[in-house]
């Protein structure tokens, strides 16, 4: 575990760069983490991120399939918003734990 400064705030992160405490998350932090992932966040990104945070904080495990069916974004759109590894990138930007799902 390590500490990192995002948007002037010190947060603790895992070795992979995921926030260890989702309550430390702010929109400003999300913007800076997204920059590290090479993503410029738009309202559409934030809508998906908020959805992911809401579901995760409720204790629901998310998969690409559930996000694709959420009505927020379809699977293809999700891959376009967070190119490469959408579930991992979106989770990191959303300040939640690294996803552990296989599907």
């Amino acid at each position: 575990m390590a500490e990192k400064v995002y948007a002037g705030k010190t947060v603790s992160v895992t070795d992979d760069g995921y926030l260890t405490d989702p309550n430390q998350w702010t929109k400003e932090i999300a913007i800076e983490i997204a920059k590290e992932e090479g993503i410029e966040l738009t309202d559409k990104h934030f809508a998906v991120i908020e959805y992911i945070r809401e579901k995760t904080l409720k204790g629901e495990a998310l998969t690409i399939r559930t996000i694709g069916k959420s009505g927020m974004v379809d699977t293809k759109g999700f891959y376009e918003l967070f190119p490469g590894a959408p579930l991992k990138k979106a989770s990191r930007i959303a300040g939640i734990a690294k996803p552990s799902s296989c599907v």
């Binding site: 379809d74 699977t75 293809k76 891959y79 590894a85 959408p86 799902s101 296989c102 599907v103």
Partner: protein
């Protein structure tokens, strides 16, 4: 994971030659898992594996209840082969497996193909097997990109960091 950064897997080429539910899912989970990680994935279905991408068969995949030593009764006792021979048993066992998978958010085959292709994965049918079974392009799921030869498959495999996996 010392070398994970130095020599990452960049592309997986998966060959599925069987129509058993479990083999098809192994191929699909690996392909989708790769796409999820940002790894390029191409799946080549051949011989009986073609059932998984044939519109008529893809929803009817079964697991074998005869000659399958890994199969157990719900309590854990071995599954008697003679029971597996009875009409409807294979369909029942397969339906049970499918409902278990649905609980884990593993989609049915057609939806799984959609997930993979939405993420940029590609699905191919083997030309030789297609000809052997007398199938046509329109017999296949819309997610099948093309019918190709094994030679073309190897051409697609070209590049550093490619792995070929046979199911």
């Amino acid at each position: 994971m010392a070398n994970a950064q130095d020599h990452p897997i960049k592309k997986v080429m998966i060959i599925c030659a069987k129509a058993n539910l479990e083999d098809v899912y192994a191929a699909l989970v690996m392909a989708n898992g790769a796409v999820m990680e940002g790894i390029e994935a191409k799946v080549f279905f051949t011989f009986f594996g073609l059932d998984a991408i044939t519109k008529k068969q893809m929803k009817r995949l079964h697991t074998a209840t005869v000659g399958n030593p890994g199969l157990r009764m719900p309590g854990g006792l071995p599954f008697p082969t003679i029971l597996g021979m009875l009409p409807g048993v294979e369909a029942g066992v397969s339906a049970m497996m499918k409902s278990q998978m649905e609980k884990l958010d593993i989609p049915p085959v057609d939806e799984f193909l959609e997930l993979i292709t939405a993420g940029g994965g590609e699905i191919y049918a083997c030309k030789l097997a297609v000809e052997m079974f007398g199938l046509k392009k329109e017999d296949f799921s819309e997610h099948v990109k093309d019918i190709i030869t094994i030679g073309q498959f190897y051409e697609l495999a070209a590049g550093e960091g490619t792995q070929i996996i046979f199911v």
